[in-house]
Symmetry: C2
Subunit: 592 residues, 2 copies
């Protein structure tokens, strides 16, 4: 079974040397000194290594089971959930007035990575709750907040999101679940929802379902949709649990991965629901929740890849097979370790340079969310809105590929379930699909975000890259290895955006045929920018006589790898984009 150790040193470096959080003018950031964040990360790392990671293969092997309407989670999940509650981890970045610790979202993300790496399926019970809390915080009445939030923040109760129905996933306009108004102001909710993560389980006293449904008078399509709170147990006025609501898990899905999480078919048979937010404005309320959920999924992309990388690195150092082509590296042994072979080294560097770059991008994104909420910074809000589909789509595509590379290093052993590498690949696969499949992320990016407010956010990104290059042009090391490739990538990105502007009006297909390529082109450019910033910070720390020179050299070498070997992908994506819709749409649907 693969061991896991939290990458606290790297997270600390990003927080304090790259993002320089405690100097940033964001309310709550001043308290984030290295000692504080280090202590939090260390504690999270202990829980992850000692409790969560050992349960990861157990959850995969056992899965959940449904018996007489009750869902049982795998052995050990209850105890681990109790430990998670006791540590107050769910409330880390939630408001103090509801029992949270009020730390920035940034710290929630930093800690979230550690928990996801250790046990993605387990962490979803908490992750979904966190998302539901966000929606109630944003749209709930004072009474709804008082009723639900303290119990959810403490994890006594958990939450879910109910969107998908058998005949509609992405296209929510087709949904059929009905909400009938009752004289007391509540609604009767009737319909079937599928793919509901953590829909039913034995970890909490109550489950608070947030359900999209159609109430009368809202019109056709998505306009008629409202969002409802449907608790598993109704809540009495004194906060105690009342009657069981008419909502139940009809089935558990057998999935490719994340077996430890219960993915349920949920049946609503006239269940009592309470409107959350405005009537017929459910989609807007849902999107509040979804944007941060998407960043959370983007985080899963690299967090699972990090865990897989750690395992593959350890295997590459231990497993003796073949001899280095440049002469025996381990002459007293029967063979050299795998890590001596250039193609193995390439596979390790691909993983390492992706994971560390994605971590930087995600933490930057989390800081933008803090600036949006804590500083009411409209530019930060526009930027994170633009970056959200990139963080979600690019990082989960690459994270899956990265896990596949980790598995490949194990050869035949990687294909055997016992080794745990198959689980990483199977778990990572879902992140490309849920919270909007990656094709939908690409569509959101190209069809909506790119041109939003006259393309202001996209322009701001280009200005930011340009400014960084200009400000650091004098540094010869940065200029050659980092700024030149970044400039080229940014040029490719601009050319692609220009192509869409010139052709998208005449033929929307011309833009959409290149949407996935644009998502990846943008993702690579973001990681190029991250690596340039990391390199700058590493050079500065080195010049200042930083405490850990080997760490700083490794940062520079890993960044150079990304710039030399990964960033040139922008040229390929641009070539595909500018080939236009022609090759993609030439074959009529019936000619396939």
């Amino acid at each position: 079974m693969p061991a896991y150790a939290a990458p606290t040193k790297d997270i600390q470096f990003l927080l304090h040397e790259v993002l320089k959080v405690s100097e940033a003018p964001v309310p709550g950031y001043a308290e984030l000194d290295p000692e504080t964040t280090g202590a939090i990360l260390d504690e999270a790392g202990k829980l992850a290594a000692d409790v969560l990671a050992p349960l990861n293969p157990v959850g995969d092997r056992e899965g959940c089971r449904l018996e007489n309407g009750v869902v049982y989670t795998p052995t050990g999940f209850q105890a681990a959930f109790a430990a998670m509650k006791e540590g107050g981890w769910n409330g880390l970045d939630l408001p103090e007035e509801f029992g949270g610790q009020g730390l920035p979202y940034l710290m929630g993300s930093a800690v979230g990575e550690i928990f996801v790496s250790a046990n993605m399926a387990f962490n979803m019970y908490q992750g979904l709750t966190h998302g539901a809390i966000g929606a109630i915080l944003a749209h709930g009445t004072p009474q709804q907040k008082a009723t639900y939030l303290p119990k959810m923040v403490s994890l006594d109760w958990t939450g879910t999101m109910n969107l998908t129905e058998p005949h509609c996933g992405t296209d929510l306009g087709l949904l059929r679940t009905k909400a009938e108004p009752q004289p007391d102001g509540s609604y009767k909710i009737t319909g079937q929802k599928i793919f509901i993560s953590a829909g039913e389980h034995d970890l909490a006293e109550n489950i608070v379902h947030l359900v999209l449904a159609k109430a009368p008078g809202g019109g056709e399509g998505t306009r008629g949709i409202s969002l409802f709170i449907v608790p598993k147990f109704l809540v009495n006025d004194d906060g105690s649990l009342g009657a069981r609501n008419a909502v139940s898990a009809g089935k558990l899905e057998e999935k490719m991965g994340i077996h430890g999480n219960a993915t349920c078919v949920m049946n609503y048979d006239g269940a009592t629901g309470y409107l959350l937010g405005e009537l017929h404005k459910g989609m807007r309320a849902m999107f509040t929740m979804m944007n941060e959920a998407r960043i959370g999924v983007g985080l899963q992309g690299y967090a699972v890849a990090e865990a897989a990388y750690q395992s593959s690195l350890s295997y590459a150092k231990d497993r003796l097979q073949g001899r280095a082509v440049t002469g025996a590296a381990n002459p007293s042994g029967a063979a050299d370790p795998l890590i001596v072979h250039p193609d193995i080294r390439r596979a390790l560097m691909d993983q390492k340079s992706f994971v560390e770059g994605a971590r930087a991008l995600t933490l930057w994104g989390a800081a933008l969310i803090d600036r949006t909420h804590r500083s009411k910074d409209a530019e930060a809000e526009a930027m994170i809105s633009l970056l959200t589909p990139v963080i979600k789509g690019f990082q989960t595509d690459m994270g899956f590929q990265s896990a596949v590379q980790a598995q490949q290093i194990f050869g035949g052993h990687g294909y055997i379930e016992e080794q745990g590498m198959s689980q990483f690949v199977r778990d990572a696969r879902i992140a490309m699909i849920y919270e909007g499949a990656n094709g939908i992320q690409a569509l959101d990016l190209v069809g909506r975000k790119l041109a939003l407010n006259g393309g202001k956010a996209m322009m701001a990104f280009f200005e930011m890259v340009k400014g960084f290059i200009k400000d650091n042009a004098e540094d010869e090391t940065l200029a050659k290895d980092f700024l030149e490739p970044l400039k080229q990538a940014s040029k490719d990105l601009q050319a692609a955006a220009m192509f869409f502007m010139q052709n998208g009006m005449k033929s929307p297909d011309a833009a959409l045929a290149g949407s996935t390529d644009f998502l990846h082109l943008f993702g690579h450019t973001c990681l190029g920018l991250m690596w340039a910033q990391i390199a700058k910070a590493a050079l500065a720390a080195r010049a200042a006589g930083g405490a850990d020179p080997a760490f700083l050299e490794a940062k520079l070498a890993t960044g150079r790898y990304y710039m030399a070997r990964q960033l040139p992908a922008t040229g390929l994506h641009l070539a595909r984009i500018t080939s236009g819709a022609g090759p993609v749409m030439a074959l009529a649907a019936e000619a396939f």
Copy 2:
């Protein structure tokens, strides 16, 4: 459950319009007229669709089980195996003197694709037998051939290949299984082998294991290795089965996929074995078998992708979700089918253009094998030797990606096991690993095949591309859409080969750090050549008033897609290769 229909029209087109088999001067090819090959493919297609494909999810769900040393295959496998035997399919391309039908290897490949698409795990029982037959044909004594081959050709007995041990996979020099010579000329084989596909099962009366082991006096490393025949039941002089040999399955592995195939730990406890081929020349004998096995695995790469593609195409046509950006395509329905969306179309074209191109490359490779064996054509032998790692490595990497794309089209439904898409992905994954992990294929290509005989085969490939471009330069349609991109790809491939020549002598790491990229660069160029040849054939057929104009137009559109959207990948691979070993090897092993 996904339906499967054999792509007989495409295979017929490749055999008769592209390869023009019945005109080719290869013994046995003249009989391969369209009626004959069509009848064979139709029969294979029926068996695949009616018997094998329905068993595919059954095998995945049930897997095999080991009880008291007996391995039970999934429900229905025995009946299907009986049907396979009765049809004489295993002997299709095997010598008539041992009960086969003596058809070319090319037909074995064409039919093999169909069986693998329908049920990869099931087909492995036959596939491994086929490989073992090849080794006995090439290295067996007349008596060994008479004893084993008729029963194996008829599938009364099956075969296995036993290479891997717990501590050694790729590096066979480390193997520990011992062969002690006995007075009667036989050997006692003792040791443990792992990952033995079809090592034990209930489909055949006897299992003929081919086992690599060390006999005394052979020296260190791979030089001391010999190959042995170790039957599960010893064979009496009259051909009847004798005593049970001391070989048994100690364990079944739990794997990510191919659950229907029994992957065994095999224990040899002084089992009786017979030397196959020369003493201490076991590696050579094994490679005979392995080269064709590798092409068979390359075939699996696109065959599973074909099955996954068919499912995703059918889903994209049926599933209603969203509206076409250019206006409703299905105005009377609640939504348009997925296939109207450009990004879905892209994912379908990626799959289609890969699968059809890989099919052409594999059948060309199979024809080269026929020319090697039937015409003793040394140039064909050199070419297929060069192409083998490309067919294996590139096609299985791309085939896996292609299956992942197919799964993605299903959204959340693709992640549910019931839909069958997860199985395609999990099954396809093994092809990147076994028969030499793809990193080993890249090493074989760059470290051995590229420079073999002074690079003669590589030069012949370049000449072939150049000749094709020159011969067809007058055709304007071909020139613009196909020859120009092919020329660029070939130029990139030459530049990469040149980089290795110039840098590989000084620093072998510089070549090996680019080995996987070279494999993919070469693979794309091969598929570019295939599409150019296919386009030429389609244009010729169209000019001649071919019977199925829609099919020919689809071929041209699909080829154009590959040239415009996939072939530019050669530039990215070249950029990575020419960045050299520096970025890859900069970080010392202990600095990771």
